[in-house]
């Protein structure tokens, strides 16, 4: 059985609504004026589909260090041991997050006891059971979570992110 986690609140305000989309498209188009007709710039970045692990590799509450979408973007895969709204896998309990704090870029550390990711820089805390919601902290965004796909073999693929990663102005460099 494969599970595809639902995107979190994808329907609400997005950067690419309204004039933001126009600006992004237009800017790409200005480089080669005719390119707009023949090869429209995609509205979103192209996310790679990266195999991060297999469900067999995951044990409840034992974080697996990964990176996505490239080796410079550290993250974590977690099997929470309980079904969560954004969970993937047969038990709906597998989630993946960036582990770079979206406030100032410090590395987050996982606390098994309460399923949180914690920042030693300025004490921000994110709840892995609640889609990476910032429990308390300085970041102006909740924690970027991976869009996960799990194939028939149990291989876990990351295929997208729902927030901008710290330290890059495009999630895919």
């Amino acid at each position: 059985m494969t599970g595809c986690p639902k995107m979190i609140d994808a329907g609400r305000r997005k950067f690419l609504s309204g004039a933001g989309l126009a600006a992004a498209g237009m800017a790409a188009a200005t480089v080669v004026p005719s390119a707009a007709e023949s090869a429209p710039a995609p509205a979103r970045v192209e996310y790679p589909s990266n195999r991060l692990a297999n469900v067999r590799d995951l044990k409840v509450d034992e974080p697996v260090n990964v990176s996505y979408p490239d080796p410079d973007a550290p993250g974590v895969l977690l099997k929470l041991g309980k079904r969560v709204p954004t969970g993937a896998g047969p038990d709906g309990d597998i989630v993946g997050f960036s582990t770079t704090c979206p406030h100032k870029g410090f590395p987050l550390s996982y606390s098994k006891s309460d399923h949180t990711l914690n920042c030693p820089g300025h004490y921000s805390r994110f709840d892995c059971d609640a889609g990476g919601q910032q429990i308390w902290g300085q970041a102006t965004q909740n924690l970027p979570q991976y869009t996960l796909r799990i194939d028939a073999n149990g291989d876990i693929y990351a295929e997208g992110l729902d927030e901008l990663l710290y330290g890059r102005l495009s999630n895919v460099l």
Binding site: F15, A19, A130, Q134, G137
Partner: protein
């Protein structure tokens, strides 16, 4: 569920983007930011020569980089009539925040008015008047004519005491030197309005009368003193959440021991060590936790006193420090008077204080020693005292404030590096007004007078009593009734007949009605009752000057257009004055009309030069052009010179040992303990089971006037929270997220339950001033002798209303406390 923006890239700031100086317009700290703007059809590139940072943005940037901005720091706004991209990001070169952004300030761009990206569309764009049974847009001239005619009619009938005013007195958004001067010149210059109150309290008074009466201005040190102190005494201030980057950038280095080099450079051979901190707060806050994380538990003393008993603790400190001979005798002799009187009146033993505060004798003795015990070699300990709303809005404000200043004076800690006795502050400051002496002391209890039916017209400037006053439920009931009378009268007049409208309004006022004019940037809660809304510009939409908690003055440059027809408050005040002058001349009242001359300002800079530059200490050295050059670091007021192209400021007040008294001395104050001072508080405490302590939380600025339209914030807290001990929850049979009613004889309100194991039994803490549950509804009308409200000492009952509403069902309710794990 956790709100996500689905943003996977942002436009890059091009090399030639415009750059503006910005001071965050929210809290007192005033972090430095830079705004960058560029045309909407352009963008920079990842290559180092194509972006503002000159770095290769094709690579991952490291922690603390200046070359990154979050989606909340980006928007598309109007600038000189054109859409532009804007990024407002923290400035690494500002000494206040060194590039740190708080969860509030780092959302300034996202919290700007943008029709292109649908942010803050709640902003008022046009003057609005009550017409056809609802608020309708109109022209400035139409709205101002109505305001002027009704105001003049009321003054003709009742005198200037019939005009009630609620007005901000602070800096930052909804304030600043320009706008306090504009409103001040109108109400204290052209008129002598007495029935006036300030944005967050029901009278026109100081929150810190006592320290001023003692000759000690309340913002007397600099932020660097928090890096230099041996001991920090924090009273009723939850600085990590309410003065975030002051705490992170200046307190934490001292707690970590990373400001030692600075100490050695400043103090030479004097022994130095990482700071100790004493925190006086009935509640364990995230500030207490962070201090323990950084300094270790043995250097943090959290004095969790019985709510409202600070005064007894301070008197015991003073008594003990004197008895042990730990006072600064040279300083006391040279710079103060009346210590003997204060000692006699305030004498409190450790045992007495322990009994009142609930602390142990050892805790009080040890904390006194942390404050005053000399260092090795006999050097005086440098102790910084900081206080805020826990004291200011707590029991017996005046005496408690005085009692803390007594301790700071007795230990010689004002005017010296590593010292100070300061309020931490809420908003920034930016006060410049003609004398308010005619208001008197105690000042009129304006909210109470409004409840009692006094006054005929009410001008409101950037205040929302419905969310931010005490006794709020009764206030709203009375206010709605009175303003409805005028609405009904207006609705009965055929449109177009201005004279008939004025007559109908005046008639309704004579019957107890009230005509209300609301000047604000958004439709407020109190605005629902008003008859005219006048749209104001906010910080960044007009040039604005303010100072922060260490008197650091900066100019925030105009980087975008105000929405629609909105104008800076100072210009709105000027236009009201112009219209009042015209109406008075029409009526042949030449002398009265002449009082409204001098409001011919065209820009906010005109108001600044008329007000601050002419009237404030050192104002002659300050201009917009000079402030622009001073950038995000500005200078510390008062200015004392202009030299080598720079304004020269004042790092610390009273460094020469001369204080504000007529004889240059600071005066100790007699501050005897008298229990819960405000009328009715003791009975309330005895009657109801739960303390309803209250205050702010990190993510929300003030009463959420902008946050209420921000999905990131409203997703986190759709309703105010009430922190509660899990055992209390079990007894009440409520679960996390359940909606509960908080009630007492003053009124009732609602909140969702946030389980908090560190909360003491029967001691709750509710988010203050939130639009979806107003804590002020249950705060009694009881005030101190100078009409300062007492929000903190509130007691009530709690009952379950419903299971967790849908909006909170999937929210996190985990502990806010960070741990190293």
């Amino acid at each position: 569920m956790a709100y996500k923006r689905q943003t996977d890239r942002l436009p890059i700031i091009p090399k030639d983007a415009k750059e503006f100086n910005v001071t965050c317009h929210y809290c007192i700290v005033g972090c430095g930011y830079k705004a960058y703007s560029w045309p909407v059809n352009k963008q920079g590139g990842a290559a180092a020569d194509q972006n503002k940072f000159g770095v290769d943005l094709g690579k991952q940037q490291p922690a603390n980089t200046a070359a990154w901005y979050s989606p909340s720091m980006y928007n598309i706004v109007r600038q000189n009539g054109e859409d532009v991209h804007i990024v407002i990001k923290p400035d690494k070169d500002c000494e206040v925040n060194s590039g740190l952004g708080s969860v509030r300030g780092a959302r300034m761009a996202e919290m700007s008015y943008s029709r292109a990206r649908n942010t803050e569309l709640q902003r008022l764009t046009d003057p609005m008047v009550w017409r056809y049974g609802q608020m309708q847009p109109t022209s400035w001239d139409d709205a101002l004519d109505l305001v002027a005619r009704v105001t003049v009619a009321v003054i003709n009938d009742m005198g200037e005491d019939g005009l009630f005013v609620s007005a901000f007195d602070h800096g930052g958004a909804g304030g600043g030197y320009e706008n306090t001067w504009g409103t001040g010149k109108l109400y204290f210059g052209a008129m002598k309005v007495k029935n006036i109150r300030i944005h967050n309290r029901p009278a026109y008074n100081s929150e810190v009368h006592a320290t001023r009466d003692m000759g000690v201005g309340e913002l007397n040190n600099c932020y660097e003193d928090a890096e230099l102190a041996d001991t920090i005494v924090a009273v009723g201030t939850n600085a990590l959440e309410t003065q975030t980057n002051y705490f992170l950038n200046h307190w934490v280095p001292n707690l970590r021991g990373t400001s030692m080099d600075k100490k050695r450079a400043e103090f030479g051979s004097e022994p130095v060590a990482a700071a100790r901190i004493i925190i006086v707060d009935p509640r364990r806050t995230v500030t207490v936790n962070a201090c323990e994380v950084e300094a270790g538990k043995d250097r943090v003393m959290h004095l969790a006193i019985n709510s409202g008993t600070d005064l007894a603790l301070f008197n015991a400190w003073l008594t003990y420090i004197d008895e042990k001979g730990l006072t600064d005798k040279a300083f006391i002799a040279a710079s103060t008077k009346d210590l003997d009187k204060a000692l006699a009146a305030n004498k409190t033993s450790l045992e007495e204080a322990a009994q009142i505060t609930g602390l142990t004798v050892d805790q009080i003795r040890q904390s006194a020693e942390w404050i005053a015990q000399p260092k090795a070699g006999g050097a005086r300990r440098r102790t910084m005292f900081a206080y805020e709303k826990g004291l200011i809005w707590g029991n017996d404000n005046y005496r408690t404030n005085g009692a803390l200043v007594n301790v700071a004076l007795a230990t010689g800690n004002i005017g010296r590096p590593g010292g100070g006795c300061v309020r931490m502050g809420g908003h920034q400051e930016g006060y410049s007004r003609p004398s308010d002496a005619h208001v008197g002391r105690p000042a009129a209890y304006v909210d109470q007078l409004l409840i009692e039916g006094k006054g005929g017209v009410h001008h409101i400037w950037g205040c929302d009593h419905y969310k931010t006053t005490l006794n709020a439920l009764k206030f709203k009931q009375a206010y709605k009734k009175r303003t409805d009378m005028v609405k009904d009268a207006m609705s009965a007049v055929p449109y177009g007949d201005r004279n008939a409208t004025i007559n109908a309004i005046v008639g309704a006022i004579k019957n107890g009605g009230l005509f209300a004019v609301d000047v604000d940037i958004i439709p407020t809660k109190i605005g629902q009752a008003c008859h005219v809304w006048l749209p104001a510009a906010t910080s960044g939409e007009a040039n604005l000057t303010s100072m922060n908690g260490e008197r650091r003055m900066r100019l925030t440059e105009r980087y975008m257009d105000p929405p629609g027809q909105a104008m800076a408050d100072c210009l709105i005040a000027a236009r009201i004055a112009n219209h009042m002058e015209r109406v008075l001349r029409e009526q042949g009242k030449t002398q009265q009309a002449d009082a409204f001359k001098g409001f011919d300002w065209k820009t906010e800079e005109d108001a600044f030069m008329d007000g601050y530059a002419k009237h404030e200490k050192g104002g002659e050295f300050v201009t917009y052009a000079r402030l622009k050059v001073m950038g995000t670091n500005g200078f510390q007021e008062p200015a004392v010179d202009f030299k080598d192209g720079k304004i020269v400021g004042t790092k610390r007040l009273y460094a020469d040992g001369k204080f504000g008294g007529k004889d240059g001395k600071a005066t100790f104050m007699e501050t005897k303990w008298r229990g819960l001072q405000a009328p009715g508080k003791e009975a309330e405490k005895n009657k109801w089971p739960f303390l309803i302590n209250n205050g702010r939380t990190n993510i929300v600025w003030q009463n959420a006037y902008l946050d209420q339209d921000n999905e990131f914030v409203m997703d986190r807290f759709p309703y105010p929270f009430i922190q509660m001990n899990p055992q209390d929850m079990a007894e009440l049979n409520v679960k996390q997220g359940d909606l509960v009613e908080i009630y007492n004889d003053n009124g009732s309100t609602q909140a969702v339950v946030y389980p908090t194991p560190t909360a003491k039994r029967k001691q709750t803490f509710m988010l203050f001033a939130y639009p979806t549950g107003v804590q002020g509804n249950v705060v009694s009308a009881g005030v101190n002798e100078f009409i300062i409200p007492n929000y903190k000492q509130t007691w009530g009952g709690i009952r379950k209303i419903a299971d967790a509403p849908e909006a909170v069902r999937d929210l996190t309710f985990k502990s806010e406390e960070y741990s190293r794990g």
